[in-house]
Symmetry: C2
Subunit: 179 residues, 2 copies
């Protein structure tokens, strides 16, 4: 039987971009980010208004995406899913063209069992044809033709339209527990 | 009414990669490539057997994809199609990671009317959901769920399974003539 296809987003799902943004911001401005304020908001909405442009500046830094931490549990769960599903990594890399090579290297380093033939660097994810899409952005899920799955991130805390997976343990339960 | 979506391949369709490969080969080895021998074959199948690896070496050169010629007529036709269809550029860039940035810059330079949100750099194109796919490789068309359209290139001369578009004039006739 043909394996079902799961498309998985990178930032905030496999790679901890938010964690690095907070670290860079706190280091530069010596101001702590209040985790409670992040609930339902993006980081640039909760930092001091004068500092908002810094967040985009970090994202456009050539090596920003090079050394992001791997989201806890994602490697083990994706490796197990890879045996039972066809996994594609689908990331909206085009907004930050400097991220293209770093994202490629990051995937080769941390998810080497996924072949490059299954990387997709895109912008608008409505082009993606898959059975499932795991993503932290509602805008990517809303036009998806398969089963949309919202991966929890502080910014999407108030989103209620999609099945929510809070962490990789819940991804594992969703995809691997009943087989 | 929602615009129909057309996915368009880059190399050999929008960008003349073969032309540059032949130029580089002829310059390096001072041997002419016989255009008749290319019919039904890839370039590395018709060059001297001792030189085959050179073709892949050119493709892996960092700037190979930076300055490819635009395929004749493609800019005008894609611009006109852009008004009536939703255009995505879909290129199998992942085999040559050095091509990611050059391909991005090439698109920005030569097809600036297509937003980056509509670039897709991928490997396996079966992930693409569109109404039409224009591509020179049968392997990309065979699993496509929309209408597959084979763009002529010497290597696919003997391919008979798909509707064939020989050049951008024929693409124009196919997409623009009856509207």
């Amino acid at each position: 039987m043909k394996k079902k296809r799961v498309a998985i987003d990178m930032d905030e799902v496999m790679a901890d971009a938010l964690g690095k943004l907070i670290r860079l911001y706190e280091d530069e401005y010596q101001l702590p980010v209040d985790q409670d304020e992040l609930v339902g908001h993006y980081l640039d909405e909760v930092v001091h208004p004068d500092h908002r442009s810094a967040i985009r500046r970090y994202l456009f830094t050539e090596d920003f995406f090079e050394d992001l931490d791997v989201m806890p549990g994602s490697q083990d769960v994706v490796r197990q899913m890879h045996e039972r599903y066809e996994i594609f990594i689908v990331t909206a890399a085009m907004e930050f063209p400097g991220s293209l090579r770093p994202k490629y290297r990051w995937l080769q380093q941390h998810f080497s069992f996924i072949p490059w033939s299954h990387y997709v660097f895109c912008g608008d994810k409505s082009i993606i044809q898959a059975d499932f899409l795991i993503d932290d952005h509602a805008k990517n899920l809303v036009n998806f033709s398969g089963e949309p799955l919202l991966f929890s991130s502080p910014h999407n805390a108030n989103e209620t339209r999609f099945t929510r997976l809070n962490n990789w343990q819940e991804v594992s339960q969703y995809f691997l527990s009943d087989q």
